[in-house]
């Protein structure tokens, strides 16, 4: 019976001593290696702990709740010098996430454009895309960041001679100043209206697709969706008595006060990260498209699809399976490369927490451990989402 075969398979062959059993040997060796690794890490950690105690330096996590004492130049939440090191961590983390998020979106868009352009039958377009890729990705990213920063500042005018657009938008070498939306009571309804409009748009698209499958004619779901997204928030705006006002930037003394400021450091960093990563993404997209068998494109042309429709409906959906894993790596690269912000004084997580906080408190081990753990979490989250998408789009065989 099969049960007896299984049992027989687990026992060593007759006539061989127990140390001749390869499975047992394997188990023992793995256990020894595991024990060695664990012992190694434990020795390193206890060594570090002893050395720290001997040199009299402070250890522990209580420094996170001490006052930081320094200001940060760009922050998405309220932060003053009297806040704690843990607040410094949050400010730096939000800045990094913002750069990573914007960078990923922009680099993906540009990367796809470059990748498809490189395969264009138009000779000039494809050569330009090739030149862009070869030039941009062979220069180190730090040089790009420094170049854009150092090239940007002299081009822009000083504050006293700002270029202004109707006295509401100001371009200076301290940043681009624009009016800021000032939220007051009741503004939450506009957000609610916007959210519902988006949900309705998605529903409209689904319904339109069903109508197209059933009848062959597609209602104008794009126009309907746009109309919803514009009309509903505007209606909510007037219904709640116009609770949102604009705060205009004004020149007071040295700088513009009020309004929203987009710093040149942010622009230079984002620009450099985007074009650098887009060069790599372009190559990934190109390899994905070339990986789809030629028969697909030929069949699509035979059906009368134009080049654009062929790409959008047939080739790219299949190419995505090839593109997603290396694309994930590039997203993670971009996230970690954003730590080069320290070179141009943009306060991201590494610069402000693993830089300034580390120097002020002297607790290098703890701070670096926290920073590494944070980057690890961000990277695992991003790759988790991408793998989810990969799994959802895999070939489903029956």
């Amino acid at each position: 019976m099969s049960g007896q075969d299984d049992v027989a398979a687990r026992l060593p062959p007759p006539g061989v001593a127990f140390w001749g059993d390869p499975r047992l040997r394997g188990f023992v060796f793995q256990a020894i290696v595991l024990a060695l690794v664990v012992w190694l890490f434990w020795t390193m950690a206890s060594n570090a702990g002893d050395a720290l105690k001997r040199s009299g330096q402070a250890t522990g996590w209580s420094f996170l709740w001490n006052t930081a004492g320094f200001d940060i130049g760009f922050k998405l939440i309220d932060y003053t010098a009297r806040d704690r090191h843990i607040d410094v961590l949050v400010v730096g983390l939000l800045n990094t996430l913002m750069i990573a998020g914007l960078g990923i979106v922009l680099a993906t868009v540009l990367g796809f454009v470059v990748g498809i352009a490189r395969l264009s039958p138009n000779w000039l377009v494809s050569r330009m895309a090739a030149a862009y890729v070869e030039f941009v990705r062979n220069v180190p990213l730090l040089l790009w960041i420094l170049f854009f920063y150092l090239a940007l500042i002299p081009i822009l005018p000083p504050v006293k001679q700002a270029i202004s657009l109707g006295d509401t938008l100001f371009l200076t070498n301290r940043g681009l100043y624009m009016p800021k939306l000032h939220w007051t009571e009741g503004a939450i309804w506009i957000v609610v209206a916007l959210a519902s409009a988006i949900v309705l748009w998605v529903a409209t698209t689904v319904w339109a697709r069903r109508r197209q499958t059933a009848t062959g004619r597609r209602p104008p779901d794009l126009l309907i969706g746009l109309a919803l997204v514009i009309a509903l928030p505007v209606a909510a705006f007037f219904a709640t008595g116009a609770p949102v006002s604009l705060e205009f930037p004004e020149l007071k003394g040295f700088n513009f006060q009020g309004g929203l400021a987009i710093l040149p450091e942010l622009v230079a960093l984002l620009f450099a990260l985007t074009i650098y990563t887009a060069a790599y993404i372009g190559e990934i997209v190109r390899s994905g498209i070339e990986g789809v068998s030629k028969g697909q494109s030929e069949a699509a042309s035979a059906l009368g699809l134009s080049r654009g429709q062929r790409l959008r409906l047939v080739v790219i959906p299949q190419a995505m399976r090839i593109i997603i894993p290396p694309l994930t790596s590039q997203y993670l690269n971009l996230t970690k490369n954003s730590s080069l912000a320290a070179a141009i004084a943009f306060p991201d997580l590494v610069h402000v927490f693993a830089g300034t906080s580390l120097n002020q408190t002297g607790q290098a081990l703890e701070i670096l451990a926290i920073t590494a753990a944070i980057y690890l979490t961000i990277s695992l989250t991003v790759s988790g989402f991408m793998n989810l998408y990969n799994y959802a789009t895999r070939l489903k065989e029956r």
Binding site: G56, G73, G355
Partner: protein, 339 residues
């Protein structure tokens, strides 16, 4: 009688032997190596800066040279190790060098929590600001709303935050890793002011495109007493370094310079005679020779000469004595008497 005499002789011998063995282990090691190992900065004009031939010059460097002159009668018996702000303390603690002379501020945390001892103040400094002359700013209190550039990770950021908050002023801060990047940003107009120790501002002014277009503001917003430091645990070595600096200050107070040292050897002033080792055995108490101070003054100079040569009227920095004048001239440099 014989036994009493023998006991007394033995006791005297034991005491002499004991005192000989209680010398400084660091001094013994330095003497056996033949040169002093000194930690300096990675290039700060006026304090420790290598010139075009790679020779180190500066106020901090001259303190190292003075200690070497006191030990070896040769001020060039020094090996310099260049350090950044981050690694200077660990390098001293680990024994990479025996004297840290690197424009280091004496603070409580450093004195108490890092296993170091500071051996006197060689330069009383403070944090200041530099602005463009045509900005019309004449004082720190005019900087409300300004953008300030600085180097990251030093006490500079903390002092700026404290000062502006306590005076109810707003500002934007930009912190760079390297001083050169911060200066470029300030020079190009990205920031209204650059801030660091005032002595560093004078040095930075030399690096800017047009030195005359900039103004160092007069106010100091913090206390930055700079001085040399040694490891904790060797009190005799600490005494040696401390009294080297005090000898230089006392020499200036008594009017003994490297130019008139030979005439001063014939002086009848008891203070000068004790300083130069003609009377007393203070040098030997430090583990050096009787003429330890003569070596320092002749080969390196007194405090005033060293100041003027490196950061004062004899240098491009042109810093006034100010707080670094002798206490008899209204400054803070005050050395205990050698007696």
């Amino acid at each position: 009688m014989k036994t009493a005499l023998a006991t007394a002789v033995l006791a005297a011998a034991a005491i002499t032997a004991a005192s000989a063995q209680s010398g400084s282990p660091t001094l013994a090691k330095v003497k056996s190596e033949g040169y002093l190992k000194c930690g300096v900065s990675d290039g700060l004009a006026g304090f420790s800066n290598p010139d075009a031939q790679g020779n180190w010059t500066g106020l901090d460097v001259d303190i190292c040279r003075a200690v070497a002159a006191a030990i070896f009668d040769n001020p060039d018996a020094v090996r310099y190790t260049s350090t950044t702000a981050k690694e200077r303390f660990t390098a001293l603690q680990s024994g990479e060098f025996d004297l840290l002379s690197r424009n280091t501020t004496l603070t409580m945390q450093r004195d108490v929590a890092l296993g170091l001892e500071f051996t006197g103040i060689s330069y009383y400094d403070g944090q200041g600001f530099i602005v463009k002359t045509d900005s019309g700013v004449a004082s720190v209190n005019d900087l409300n709303g300004a953008t300030v550039c600085t180097q990251s990770g030093t006490t500079t950021e903390l002092n700026v935050a404290d000062y502006f908050a306590s005076h109810g002023m707003q500002y934007q801060i930009l912190t760079f890793e390297k001083e050169s990047e911060a200066l470029t940003a300030y020079d190009s107009g990205r920031c209204d002011a650059y801030t660091t120790d005032q002595s560093g501002l004078y040095a930075a002014k030399l690096e800017l495109a047009d030195a005359n277009a900039h103004l160092v503001l007069p106010e100091l917003i913090s206390k930055e007493p700079l001085g040399p430091a040694v490891r904790q645990g060797d009190d005799r070595w600490e005494d040696l370094v401390r009294w080297t600096l005090y000898a230089m200050i006392n020499a200036e107070e008594l009017g003994v310079t490297s130019q008139n040292i030979d005439e001063q050897l014939n002086s009848q002033n008891p203070e000068i005679r004790r300083l130069l080792g003609i009377e007393g055995d203070f040098g030997e108490q430090l583990g050096l020779t009787k003429d330890w101070a003569v070596r320092i003054i002749r080969k390196v100079g007194n405090y005033g000469e060293v100041f003027e040569k490196n950061v004062g009227t004899g240098s491009p920095l042109q810093i006034a004595r100010g707080k670094n004048a002798l206490w008899t001239n209204g400054g803070l440099q005050y050395a205990p008497p050698i007696r």
